[in-house]
């Protein structure tokens, strides 16, 4: 006698690892990871503001750390993460409006693939401006 539905193992809710990896899914995960990164990075902003409110020595110390090659590397990464999360948020507004459903999934996949390139491009532009104005 065949198993009845009552005794057969019930299907479990599928999780991340059973899905084919797709760009929109990748960007959804990255949006969350960048958000968590930005969360902890706000400490850098608080330290910078506190240093600026303190003595010239304390400000110089923080400026030296932030201006070192490692500091600049972290700040560059933080800028990229910030821009990525920001334009990702704008993308989420578009998706919340429901217009992605009308455009179709090819369009949302294209938008997801474009994300890292757009965010990297804007980040590099910001840093060119920052470094040029610093040199001038």
């Amino acid at each position: 006698m065949s198993k009845t539905t009552a005794t057969r193992a019930r299907p479990l809710s599928p999780h991340l690892q059973v899905y084919t990896f797709i760009p929109t899914m990748m960007m959804s995960i990255i949006h969350r990871i960048t958000g968590v990164g930005l969360y902890f990075g706000t400490v850098l902003v608080a330290i910078w503001l506190l240093a600026a409110s303190g003595s010239p020595e304390s400000f110089a110390r923080v400026q030296a750390i932030y201006g070192s090659w490692f500091g600049l590397f972290v700040l560059f990464g933080y800028t990229w993460v910030l821009i990525h999360h920001l334009i990702g948020g704008v993308r989420h507004f578009v998706m919340d409006s429901g217009s992605d459903l009308a455009l179709g999934k090819e369009q949302s996949t294209k938008a997801a693939i474009a994300m890292p390139f757009i965010s990297a491009g804007i980040t590099i532009l910001i840093w060119i401006v920052a470094l040029l104005s610093r040199g001038a």
């Binding site: 958000g35 968590v36 902003v45 600026a52 010239p56 948020g89 507004f93 610093r134």
Partner: protein, 127 residues
Amino acid sequence: MASMRTPLRRVRGLGSAKEGTDHFWKQRLTALANVPLVLFALGLIVSLAGQPHEVVRSTLANPFVALVLILFLVSVLTHMKLGMQVVIEDYVHGEGAKILLIALNIFFTFAVGAASVFALLKIAFGG
């Protein structure tokens, strides 16, 4: 006869928390506010990169700059507090650990906010 009530109904004897879509709405509202506020803060920091202490102080002491930066902090910190809460609720399933982390999330947000706003007001009021 066993009670027909679901465990959810019995769990705390409470009804709806009456918050509804409050979390979702505030996350979107702060996201919208963050766009111009973050662009302003980013532009300011880029223009102040490598500048001497006095220039940084006098720029931050400008009432408009200080005010917009405080709005930036309130909006960004509210947004990230809500976001981190969702991350904790999604991945931490132990009840004690979850409540502890949600409390730490609130403490962290307020610590960053209090320190930053204090620094800005100190500069703005010439301390």
